[in-house]
């Protein structure tokens, strides 16, 4: 399902055929993404996939090598024109991973400076600073210096500074990666609240697929500078188009089994798993099984593989059990708390129909 968009002109952000090369290396290759106003776009991928470069091009800090970026129908960067609208002139705000707070200004000074640059009157500035300080719940920190407040508070100041000039596009560069786990979850909902409160269109870069799944209205999974898949988070989970997406998203990670056709069934290490009709015409494919479709221990009509127990983690009353079959890590679910000693033999039963099949190159095969 393609993401809903009203029409190209109304798209808050439209990225077309965008390419960025550093010397001979292409960091971003032929990216096409459009999102409507108010969308929360998450760019997710492993480190080095080009997501930060893409964000910096959106911010106007890097010029694209080819292609085009348009905000609300206005071209702001292109391969031929470079940075057409300056970073400051594209009505966008960026929250840096390092927060980039100016160390010589107080919290209030940091928030007010961009407004001063934009020639707001003093009264308007003060009112707006008070407003964003209370929106972020940091009014008490007003006269502190950045070095005097905690990491989580710095994060809030950085966000307050970015939203103060009321940009219509908010850009976030892995903003939560420097926070501890508890604070990260707290800030996640905080960020979504701010996103709704400002009504801006947000672009959010992360390598954490949980952030992507919980926050996004649209997700683009990037790998090696390419968009592997773009869509609503739930669609990406339901219908991953590549094995990369399938294995990158979801907790616990889905299982991918390389199998070979033996007569009318696909088999892994002589264990027949799925009917050959599931991916007709293919000799070798990869089968995708969700963890919840893999039972630990023998199930009557299940197709069973035996491996060695690696680890178990309790999750909501069940246990996520990881077993090594040869070099392959496979994860299944067991009721209650599962205990075993690493190295113990554990059987995994697979449901009769896998979730999906992929070619050995990782492309989805539709039956």
């Amino acid at each position: 399902m393609a993401p809903a968009s009203i029409g190209p002109a109304q798209d808050a952000i439209r990225i077309s055929q965008l390419v960025k090369r550093f010397g001979d290396v292409a960091a971003v290759k032929d990216v096409n993404i459009s999102v409507p106003r108010g969308a929360f776009l998450v760019l997710v991928g492993p480190s080095g996939c080009g997501k930060s470069t893409l964000l910096r091009m959106l911010a106007g800090l890097e010029a694209p090598s080819a292609g085009e970026i348009a905000f609300v129908g206005r071209t702001v960067s292109s391969g031929t024109g470079g940075v057409i609208a300056d970073a400051g002139a594209r009505d966008a705000g960026l929250v840096f991973q390092s927060y980039a707070l100016w160390p010589h200004m107080t919290v209030a000074g940091n928030i007010a400076w961009p407004l001063k640059v934009a020639r707001w009157s003093k009264a308007d500035r003060n009112a707006r600073v008070d407003e964003v300080l209370s929106l972020l719940g940091i009014s008490a920190l007003r006269d502190r210096y950045p070095a005097e407040i905690s990491g989580g508070q710095q994060q809030r100041v950085a966000i307050a500074r970015t939203i103060a000039p009321k940009p219509s596009i908010l850009l976030f560069d892995e903003p939560l990666s420097n926070l501890d786990a508890k604070l990260r979850i707290e800030m996640r909902s905080e960020l979504m609240r701010i996103h709704r409160a400002t009504g801006a269109t947000s672009v959010y870069v992360t390598h954490d697929q949980v952030e992507a799944m919980t926050m996004a209205s649209h997700v683009a999974v990037l790998n090696h500078g390419r968009v592997e898949q773009f869509g609503a988070p739930i669609d990406l989970l339901r219908r991953p188009t590549t094995t990369f997406v399938a294995s990158f998203l979801g907790t616990p990670p889905a299982n991918l089994l390389p199998v070979t056709r033996v007569q009318d069934r696909f088999a892994f290490a002589d264990v027949a798993l799925a009917p050959a009709a599931f991916a007709a015409g293919h000799e070798r494919v990869q089968l995708l099984y969700r963890a919840q479709d893999v039972a630990v221990g023998r199930v009557d009509d299940g197709h069973q593989l035996v491996g060695r127990f690696a680890e178990a983690a309790p999750i909501a009353g069940q246990s996520m059990v990881t077993v090594m079959v040869g070099d392959l890590r496979l994860t299944g679910m067991a009721e209650g708390f599962f205990t075993a000693t690493p190295g113990d033999e554990v059987g995994l039963s697979f449901s009769s129909t896998p979730d999906a099949a992929f070619t050995m190159d990782g492309e989805r095969i539709d039956p």
Partner: protein, 579 residues
């Protein structure tokens, strides 16, 4: 060794733990506090009080105090301003722009500080001397250019030579500060829509302001305390600064007046450093808060890239390579004004009795100079050793007793010499050790006195590097070695020694270099009978034997450069993981 052994003990040897601080307190009281107290007391005797009156409120005081003071302040201000401009400009080019050849410019900008200021003064004289004082004229005069007096002698050349020497100090401080201005800070400004100028004045400049203040005050203090440049370029035309005045008073036997001037010089310099410290401390310490650190935003210079590179290169070459070349050529040329013809090695290895140099033998055939060479090396090595040992022991005691009044007093005393210009410090040593103390003989003019004074004066650096050396051995590192069952000796050899050796050597070599090229401390404390190289060079220069002075200065330079190079090699050899 004792101190290192103590570092490792979780329950330190109790006895040593008390004895060491006590011993150090006595030593430092003798080395630092006693001379300063004594020089103060010496000016409170009837003769001393008379000297205060003479210096501050008498018909002579204009000459003794006010005029030297205003010259000194003018010199300090000019040098600080020049160093900020030059050092700041180069630091900006190297750290924040896409200047070509940044590595070369960076290296050239740090070199001049290695070259002693009297080398610069001598090179200036070799080029710009005019005929006002007789003697052989400089290169420009000899080639038909009429060098005006103001360019040959006095305040202007002194200022230029000192700027050429001290700007690299400003450069180092400012470059370090600028490179801590992360790209994110600047890009955050761009996102706010600020233009280049606004970002520079609104973000970059305020963030590095503490560094600018520090650079200004340190170069100012350096210029105020400097003896060599005003002595070589100013004294011949009777320009006096506080330090040359102080030297003159003590040389001519007006010891009390000299002491008064020394105290005043200390007051001026300390007040300045104290004020600037307040100024910086009053602001927030701008530790930049970074996650993804280290990325630097470089402004494109566009069409200005190569012209600015040329300017930077010329500044670098003129302040580091050119003086050395001039000194080298001059030491080979029989006529001061003609640097590149009739070269002779006479001034280096010639036999005495000839027509050249009034019959004096060359450098390496002159027993007095050869002795001075050995004296210099001996002094450098001894002081490096004593200073580092004392510094390490002090640093250890201060770190271990952190928070106690003992640590506070020790560290204040250890850093006190930083506020005292070396020539005034030397005067204080004369006040204390110039006469016999009880049964002890007078130490004036002895090697021992110089070692004591130099050790005390270098203490701040030694304590600082001792602290950073001890910082290398965190308790975790030590304890993880203990958990493997390694004994004290094993830990010393395999853990502590490899971690500290670099810092210790670097500190020692720094002290060595400082001593070898020092003039202002030795000029008062050494006598003609056992001279060091810098003294000999200074004396030759004042007598007009420029080739000898230049040749000796070159020898000093070679020693300093070799030591620095050795330090660099050791640094990369011994601790490869640091790269």
């Amino acid at each position: 060794m004792t101190s290192l052994a103590l570092v490792s003990g979780r329950a330190p040897l109790l006895r040593a733990n008390r004895v060491l601080p006590l011993f150090l307190s006595v030593v430092i009281a003798l080395l630092v506090a006693a001379p300063l107290v004594k020089i103060l007391l010496a000016t409170l005797t009837p003769d001393g009080l008379q000297a205060w009156t003479t210096v501050l409120a008498s018909p002579l005081s204009a000459n003794l105090w006010w005029r030297p003071l205003s010259t000194t302040m003018l010199l300090g201000l000019g040098v600080a301003a020049g160093c900020l401009l030059l050092g700041g400009f180069l630091a900006w080019l190297v750290t924040l722009t896409d200047l070509p050849g940044r590595g070369l410019v960076a290296t050239l900008s740090t070199l001049p500080f290695m070259i002693p200021s009297f080398a610069g003064a001598l090179a200036w004289g070799t080029l710009f001397r005019n005929e006002r004082l007789g003697g052989s004229p400089g290169v420009f005069q000899a080639n038909g250019f009429d060098v005006p007096d103001w360019l040959a002698w006095g305040l202007a050349p002194t200022m230029i030579v000192l700027i050429a020497h001290y700007f690299s100090l400003a450069y180092t401080i400012i470059a370090a500060a600028l490179s801590s201005v992360g790209a994110d800070l600047i890009e955050a400004g761009q996102m706010a829509g600020a233009r280049r100028g606004r970002i520079f004045f609104g973000i970059v400049l305020p963030v590095v302001t503490p560094a600018l203040v520090a650079a200004a005050s340190l170069t100012f203090a350096g210029a105020v305390a400097n003896f060599a440049a005003p002595a070589l370029l100013g004294l011949p035309v009777r320009m006096q600064t506080l330090s040359t005045r102080l030297f003159g008073m003590i040389e001519t036997g007006e010891t009390e007046r000299g002491f008064v001037l020394a105290l005043l010089l200390i007051a001026v310099s300390a007040a300045l450093l104290f004020c600037s410290d307040r100024l910086v401390a009053g602001r927030k310490a701008f530790t930049t808060v970074t996650g993804k650190g280290g990325r630097i935003k470089r402004f494109p210079l566009g069409a200005w890239r190569w012209p600015l590179f040329a300017v930077a290169l010329i500044i670098g070459l003129a302040t580091s390579v050119l003086p050395v070349l001039v000194l080298a050529a001059s030491s080979l040329a029989p006529q001061g004004g003609v640097l590149f013809s009739n070269w002779t090695l006479h001034f280096w290895i010639g036999e005495g009795g000839g027509a050249l140099a009034q019959g004096q033998a060359g450098l390496f055939r002159n027993p007095m100079i050869v002795e001075a060479l050995w004296n210099t090396l001996k002094l450098g090595l001894t002081v490096a050793l004593t200073t580092m040992l004392l510094g390490l022991a002090l640093a250890y005691t201060i770190v271990r007793n952190k928070g106690t009044w003992l640590a506070t007093v020790l560290s204040q005393l250890a850093f006190l010499p930083l506020l005292v210009p070396s020539i005034a410090f030397a005067a204080a040593y004369i006040a204390l050790f110039g006469a016999p103390i009880g049964p002890l003989p007078s130490l004036y003019g002895t090697f021992a006195l110089l070692v004591l004074a130099a050790t005390a004066h270098n203490l701040p650096y030694a304590v600082q590097s001792g602290r950073s050396v001890l910082g290398q051995i965190s308790n975790d590192i030590e304890e993880s070695a203990r958990l493997t069952g390694a004994g004290l000796l094993t830990r010393l050899v395999f853990i502590i020694f490899p971690l500290t050796i670099r810092g210790l050597l670097a500190g020692a070599i720094l002290v060595f270099v400082k001593m070898v090229r020092d003039l202002s401390l030795v000029v008062l404390l050494f006598t003609a009978t056992s001279p060091v190289l810098s003294m000999v060079a200074y004396r030759y220069a004042s007598e007009g034997f420029m080739q000898f002075a230049n040749a000796i200065t070159l020898v000093i330079l070679v020693i300093c450069l070799a030591a620095s190079l050795a330090a660099h090699l050791i640094q990369t050899r011994v601790q490869k993981w640091k790269q």
